[in-house]
């Protein structure tokens, strides 16, 4: 029996089991990467191992999101450290971009081309034969719902259409890794939700999607994991709930809707992991702050089992990306 195949490694909380050799080959690895622009820090001492799925880069302006993306795509070279994408170093574009597609924020295109010409000429530069390039172009345009406008000049496209044609460029050669810098910018709500669905579908097919976005609730909705950046440093990474769980200095807030909130408060307040209990303004609910959400939920089960208090709903108040962002970076994040 092949031992290598028998060995397996679990990734994050996802419980995906992949043979070790394939696992190493399917990662995006940052090994002590720093980038300085002269005296100015871009990113510093970044160590990451990113597994397939949707990974979002989140942080305020100047945090280093675009620098990290440009480093991953070889448009920038690290001052120190090494980056490999599926085991390919980023200074070998001829290998790298067979596996990688990058939807940049650069809103410029070769002049005079229609959407279809833009994608097909990009594929011809890849080295595809004309027929194959035309075929892949149509598939890519269809995936971003731009087939109807394919023969119009890119210069005449709206902002949202230009965003979609860049997305089509990134997915046209059917890469295994897609790096998407603010891919939802300028899209109307309908296309936005279609695009998010497309991302989810691609991720479920085993692709890497590295996405930067400043719309936190969308990131929360679609991401398997997040990387929070601030001032060029990675301040947290992993599953949002996992990151939140580790923030012990910020107890978890939970809102419990019930018929006897005061009684519930008295019942739970003597527990050492509950640090605060506050009645909701309408006196039909109770805010709890706890250092150990799991223990608290067990306690609630017990309370429900006793039958004295009717609990309508339980909702974590700050177990999301917005809260994590606020605690770690310090603002609401929508300007990020």
């Amino acid at each position: 029996m092949n031992e290598t195949k028998a060995k397996s490694v679990s990734i994050d909380q996802d419980e995906i089991r992949i043979p070790k050799s394939e696992f190493v080959n399917s990662l995006i690895v940052f090994d002590d990467v720093s980038k300085f622009y002269g005296e100015i820090l871009g990113v510093n001492r970044v160590n990451l191992q990113i597994a397939p799925g949707i990974t979002s880069l989140v942080g305020p302006n100047g945090a280093g999101k675009s620098t990290l993306m440009n480093l991953m795509t070889g448009l920038l070279r690290p001052t120190r450290g090494r980056i490999t994408i599926l085991d390919i170093p980023t200074d070998r574009p001829e290998q790298l971009f067979q596996k990688l597609g990058y939807c940049t924020q650069f809103d410029s295109f070769p002049r005079g081309l229609t959407g279809r010409e833009f994608i097909s000429s990009f594929l011809l530069v890849h080295g595809y034969e004309k027929k194959k390039a035309a075929e892949l172009t149509t598939i890519a345009l269809e995936r971003v719902s731009l087939l109807d406008a394919a023969d119009r000049k890119v210069a005449a496209y709206s902002k949202g259409m230009r965003q979609r044609i860049r997305l089509a460029q990134a997915i046209a050669h059917q890469p295994a890794v897609m790096i998407l810098d603010e891919p939802l910018n300028g899209l109307d709500p309908m296309v936005r939700s279609e695009t998010i669905a497309l991302f989810r579908k691609l991720a479920s097919e085993g692709l890497h999607l590295i996405i930067s976005s400043h719309i936190l609730h969308e990131v929360d909705m679609m991401s398997d994991r997040v990387i929070l950046l601030n001032n060029g440093y990675v301040v947290a990474e992993g599953n949002v709930h996992g990151v939140r769980d580790e923030m012990e200095e910020h107890p978890m807030q939970i809102l419990i809707r019930c018929d006897k909130p005061a009684k519930l408060a008295a019942r739970v307040f003597d527990k050492d992991h509950v640090v605060e209990a506050r009645l909701h303004d309408d006196r039909m609910g109770l805010f709890i702050k706890t250092r150990d959400a799991d223990r608290f939920y067990l306690l609630l089960n017990q309370v429900v089992g006793e039958g004295e208090i009717n609990i309508e709903s339980i909702a974590p108040v700050d177990d999301d990306l917005s809260a994590v962002y606020q605690y770690l970076i310090g603002s609401e994040g929508n300007s990020a």
């Binding site: 920038l76 574009p93 295109f109 011809l124 530069v125």
Partner: protein
């Protein structure tokens, strides 16, 4: 006879994958097409057409008249008239600045337009991008400036001494001279092209190095023989069919024979393109700082 045999272990050879020439060829062709289209039809091409027409315009205006100088009344002087016209205006000005405009914009223009990443985000060796762009620039410059060279020569000769000129081109040395001038123009495009491509890669403002080279090329006649050889114009001048006197202050140097001048230019061009390839291999895209 001994039955013993000696086992020779098969030598391990590491099979290197063959170089993907057909892929590179397809990629160069795709880049070439895009760039040629941009060079001929892009907004930057207007200046090129004006430059290419610069020597032709005055000659068209002069065609119906015989200019006042005596030399215009002597057909034997026409080869010297064209040699001066070619060396002074076409080669040193039109081809020089035309190549500067075309080749410096191959990369610098894309950086200014923020569209260079289009190539950098493709699975293309960056050296292949250099070759594709250089060939596109070369074809553009050769088509434009060789046409200028041919049309200008015909416009010098044909309107004034039509029958003598026809004989000169069909039965005399005219056609050979025309081909030589055209070849010199093409060689100038090869040499200046490579230089300006590299300048466009190394300098944010390539006008200054271009002007420095322009001065160097113009002052070449004053330089000692050794320094003369560090210029493109020296080798091109060595090839002209009708030598032109460079004035009383010129330092005379032996012209370089064609069999040395042409390969030298091509070798230097290749070296310069290798520098360009090295540079682009390490190039970063930071439009903000450009």
């Amino acid at each position: 006879m001994s039955s013993s045999t000696v086992d020779i272990a098969p030598q391990k050879t590491i099979d290197k994958p063959p170089l993907p020439w057909s892929l590179w060829f397809r990629q160069i062709r795709a880049i070439f097409r895009l760039e040629v289209e941009k060079n001929f039809l892009g907004r930057r091409s207007i200046l090129l057409y004006l430059l290419a027409l610069l020597p032709i315009g005055p000659l068209v205006l002069l065609a119906p008249f015989t200019p006042p100088g005596n030399e215009w009344r002597d057909f034997n002087q026409y080869n010297m008239i064209y040699a001066i016209f070619y060396g002074g205006l076409i080669l040193r000005t039109v081809v020089f600045f035309g190549c500067a405009w075309i080749f410096m914009n191959l990369f610098r223009g894309d950086i200014i337009d923020r569209s260079l990443h289009f190539y950098f985000l493709s699975p293309v060796r960056r050296e292949v991008v250099v070759v594709g762009k250089y060939l596109a620039g070369l074809v553009t410059s050769v088509v434009l400036f060789c046409s200028t060279t041919i049309i200008a020569m015909l416009l010098v000769y044909l309107p004034h001494f039509y029958s003598e000129s026809t004989r000169y081109f069909l039965d005399g040395p005219g056609l050979g001279q025309l081909l030589t001038y055209t070849s010199i123009t093409a060689l100038a495009c090869i040499g200046y092209g490579a230089f300006f491509l590299v300048v466009g890669l190394f300098f944010r403002n390539p006008i200054i190095p271009a002007l420095v080279l322009y001065g160097w090329e113009w002052l070449n006649f004053l330089m000692p023989p050794l320094l003369k050889k560090i210029s493109v114009i020296h080798y091109l001048n060595s090839l002209v069919p009708v030598p032109v006197s460079e004035g009383p202050f010129a330092v005379v140097a032996e012209p370089t024979p064609a069999w040395i001048a042409v390969p030298s230019l091509i070798i230097v061009t290749t070296l310069v393109l290798l520098i360009a390839s090295y540079r682009i291999r390490r190039m970063e895209i930071r439009y903000g700082s450009d």
